[in-house]
């Protein structure tokens, strides 16, 4: 056990901090949103793109990627230092995160050379934003049952069908998408992974208002959309394997324990400031118990992720750790937000900029948003299925 970083890594941390002090935007509405994936106005989108470019110019975007694709081949230690500093300094999230955290790594792993050259640079600079077209009205948890059809016609696929809950599709430039290319094959073996230009004729995007009151995800309809054959990632009919590599990236992305620590710090800040029923919130024995329980669960996940980091450095495989992380962290995040609402009492439901809203009304929004994250990326129940089957070896259900 040794929790210290090397001198060089600590130097790197100081450099990141110094850079952040100089470049961090002042708290600014255009970049607000915490972990909310919705950027619901053109100003917010361009401010967010500009921020990603600033970070990219400093060399801090996707530092773990190979040098030939614009990364620095930074060690896992440095990736985690960077992530930690960004979150602890409350740097705005990167708008291109779906490309950076999901598609990019997938292309590096399974893409062709031409695809990497074509797409990776613009993922880094946020010149092209991506969305994830997996779920369909009839296929959520049972993703492999998806029906959106793609047929080869000469040099291109022709896509027909519908996706739903597609976050950021209303402004994304591209979609990584799962389509059925062989309806006769068993369901996992007839799926392909396509990259689709959102400006293609035949695509219609209908925004859906989320329970937060904001647009966030969408329905996407495809009518005879032509997609060049070179936009197929991996083998024809081999899309399920490609998708699964991306799903693990997604689960780990949703399970950032640094974000959880930040939420917890905010909650403790709130508890220290507020009074309830005439005395300080932190004096109430029941609240102290609840806060301590949350702190303990957060710390356990923090050390657990450090342990996973070490395992990764030593080249040990993660097993179902992505599912454990996703399950535990998303539920913990929601519990933290729920505790904040409890502390706030009648002030809890006050949203946004309404008078008397605490912390700019972010708690109720995050409380809702974190419930969505328990569902998105594979529900808690699905993660429990995965854990019980893959880690514990229990039989699949009938």
């Amino acid at each position: 056990m040794d929790l210290s970083f090397s001198k060089e890594d600590e130097k790197f941390r100081r450099e990141v901090r110094a850079w952040l002090r100089r470049h961090l935007p002042r708290r600014n509405d255009a970049l607000e949103g915490g972990e909310d994936l919705s950027y619901d106005s053109p100003e917010r989108i361009s401010a967010a793109k500009a921020w990603q470019r600033t970070v990219h110019d400093a060399g801090y975007v996707a530092i773990g990627w190979p040098k030939e694709f614009g990364g620095q081949e930074a060690s896992i230690e440095r990736q985690s230092i960077l992530n930690e500093e960004m979150v602890l300094h409350r740097a705005p999230g990167l708008i291109g995160h779906l490309g950076l955290r999901m598609l990019g790594p997938t292309l590096i792993q399974c893409g062709t050379e031409a695809q990497r050259r074509r797409f990776l640079p613009k993922i880094l600079t946020a010149d092209e934003l991506w969305c994830q077209g997996y779920s369909e009205p009839g296929s959520g948890s049972d993703l492999a049952s998806l029906k959106t059809r793609a047929e080869l016609d000469g040099d291109s696929f022709v896509v027909n069908g519908q996706k739903v809950w597609t976050s950021t599709a209303q402004y994304a430039d591209w979609m990584f998408c799962l389509v059925r290319t062989d309806p006769e094959a068993p369901k996992h073996r007839g799926i392909s992974y396509l990259l689709i230009d959102m400006k293609s004729p035949g695509i219609e995007v209908r925004p859906l208002v989320q329970m937060t009151g904001r647009a966030g995800f969408n329905e996407v309809f495809f009518t005879d959309v032509r997609v060049p054959r070179e936009n197929l990632v991996g083998e024809l009919h081999g899309g399920w394997t490609v998708a699964n590599s991306t799903l693990a990236f997604e689960r780990n992305m949703l399970a950032s324990t640094t974000r959880t620590q930040q939420l917890m710090d905010d909650l403790l800040g709130l508890a220290r400031r507020r009074t309830r029923n005439g005395s300080k919130v932190t004096r109430c024995p029941a609240t102290r118990q609840k806060l301590a329980d949350l702190v303990i669960r957060v710390e356990a996940m923090r050390y657990h992720s450090l342990q996973q980091l070490s395992d990764e450095i030593q080249g040990r495989r993660g097993g179902v750790s992505a599912s454990i992380n996703k399950l535990v962290t998303t539920e913990l995040n929601h519990d933290i937000c729920a505790a904040a609402l409890d502390i706030l009492g009648d002030y809890g439901p006050l949203m946004g900029r309404t008078p008397h809203a605490e912390d700019r009304g972010t708690w109720p929004k995050d409380w809702m948003f974190t419930l969505g994250m328990i569902i998105g990326g594979g529900t808690s129940q699905i993660q429990k299925n995965i854990i019980s089957e893959r880690a514990l070896g229990l039989p699949r259900g009938a």
């Binding site: 056990m1 040794d2 929790l3 210290s4 970083f5 090397s6 890594d9 230690e77 403790l268 508890a271 220290r272 932190t282 024995p285 102290r288 118990q289 806060l291 301590a292 329980d293 702190v295 303990i296 669960r297 710390e299 356990a300 996940m301 050390y303 657990h304 450090l306 342990q307 980091l309 070490s310 395992d311 450095i313 750790s321 454990i324 399950l327 535990v328 129940q381 993660q383 429990k384 299925n385 854990i387 019980s388 089957e389 880690a391 514990l392 070896g393 229990l394 039989p395 699949r396 259900g397 009938a398």
Partner: protein
């Protein structure tokens, strides 16, 4: 940066598991549990031969000079097998207390014999008030010229039936605060000591009431400075928390394995009960709690070498969390076993009971969450 066990520690874990699988299988545990005295001298001797009793004893006193994390590795395996042996009471608690509080002469006198397992010791701390703060130590010691005389009783003393030496926390000055708490080392055969076994439901670990009826103690049996023992006890409390959390980690792992093994073979409605989601999700929830707990435990064990405030906070975090996790896991494990799980004949109830006794020993989850709150400054 390395979060995890060293290669040596991994080896220690594996060899401890092999050793205990051979020497402390459920049948052996059951025999000791059903034994009146609850002691197996043969098993204790074999464990001493492994060198475990001296793990935490500094090398200069004949031990291995290892750290709390090493002990936690062994305790995890002892907890997994529910091995009834005085490792916690003697090799961890009493040894820690003597190592930090005793004079060089006292250490020379006792530590080598504790290390070899030739002698066992235990700590007598709690009283009827059952409180872990300084006010919980009320047993009054009176000075009689250059000796001390003491009368009163102690409760919940671990393994007192086999200990040769009792480390007694008592008050040498009036009051309820930290000052005035002193520590005495009293040999088993001192006149005026009597033991009453307390019939607790966890028979893998025996607890006793100790009565002291005008016991006379020499000056050289005072351990550390008179009236200044509280910080030593607090440090030992932290080590106790980590040690019990480690046992609980191993016990929870095993209780879940038992449930999963059973769920794969027991059939109802024409299929294994482990294919029912209600059962699978119970098991998955346990697993998703147990895995992160291990990281918290290792951190807490490692933190014992550092600053005392963080050592206390981390110890309490691990103790609170594993108290809850072990109890929940064993409860679900019994349920997954159905009726057979409720019998004396099946082994799973031993883990169920041990979970609860570990949960309350040296402070329950509520006590430790409150301690975390106070140490965090809120």
């Amino acid at each position: 940066m390395h979060f995890g066990l060293t290669a040596d520690q991994e080896l220690l874990a594996a060899s401890a598991r092999d050793f205990l699988a051979a020497e402390s299988p459920p049948a052996t545990v059951r025999r000791i549990v059903e034994d009146d005295a609850g002691v197996s001298p043969e098993l204790n001797a074999k464990i001493a031969q492994q060198g475990w009793q001296g793990m935490l004893v500094p090398e200069e006193y004949g031990g291995q000079g290892l750290g709390v994390l090493d002990a936690a590795v062994v305790l995890t395996e002892l907890g997994r097998f529910l091995t009834p042996t005085p490792f916690l009471s003697s090799a961890v608690l009493a040894t820690t207390l003597l190592s930090i509080a005793a004079s060089a002469a006292q250490r020379r006198r006792w530590l080598p014999r504790l290390a070899s397992g030739e002698m066992l010791a235990t700590v007598a701390w709690l009283e009827e008030s059952d409180r872990l703060d300084p006010a919980g130590i009320a047993l009054r010691v009176r000075r009689a010229r250059d000796r001390f005389r003491l009368s009163g009783s102690k409760l919940f003393v671990l393994d007192a039936q086999m200990a040769d030496l009792y480390l007694l926390a008592a008050r040498t000055a009036a009051g309820q605060g930290r000052d005035g708490v002193s520590l005495f080392a009293i040999p088993r055969d001192a006149t005026g000591i009597s033991l009453t076994p307390l019939h607790n439901f966890d028979r893998t670990r025996r607890l006793f009431e100790m009565r002291f009826d005008d016991v006379v103690v020499d000056r050289d049996q005072l351990v550390g400075r008179e009236g200044k023992a509280w910080p030593h006890l607090e440090r030992m409390l932290n080590v106790a928390c980590v040690a019990i959390a480690a046992e609980s980690q191993g016990g929870a792992e095993r209780a879940l394995e038992l449930a999963v093994e059973y769920a794969k073979v027991r059939e109802q409605f024409g299929r294994p009960i482990g294919s029912f989601q209600a059962v699978k999700h119970l098991a998955a929830e346990c697993f998703a709690e147990i895995e992160p707990s291990r990281s918290l435990l290792w951190y807490a064990a490692w933190a014992q070498q550092g600053a005392s405030k963080e050592a206390s906070r981390a110890a309490s975090m691990a103790k609170a969390r594993l108290g809850d996790v072990y109890s929940r896991t064993t409860n679900k494990s019994v349920q997954i076993h159905g009726g057979i799980g409720f019998t004396w004949e099946h082994d799973v109830h031993f883990w169920f009971k041990r979970a609860k006794s570990n949960e309350v020993l040296f402070g329950g989850p509520d006590f430790h969450r409150e301690r975390v709150a106070a140490l965090s400054g809120w």
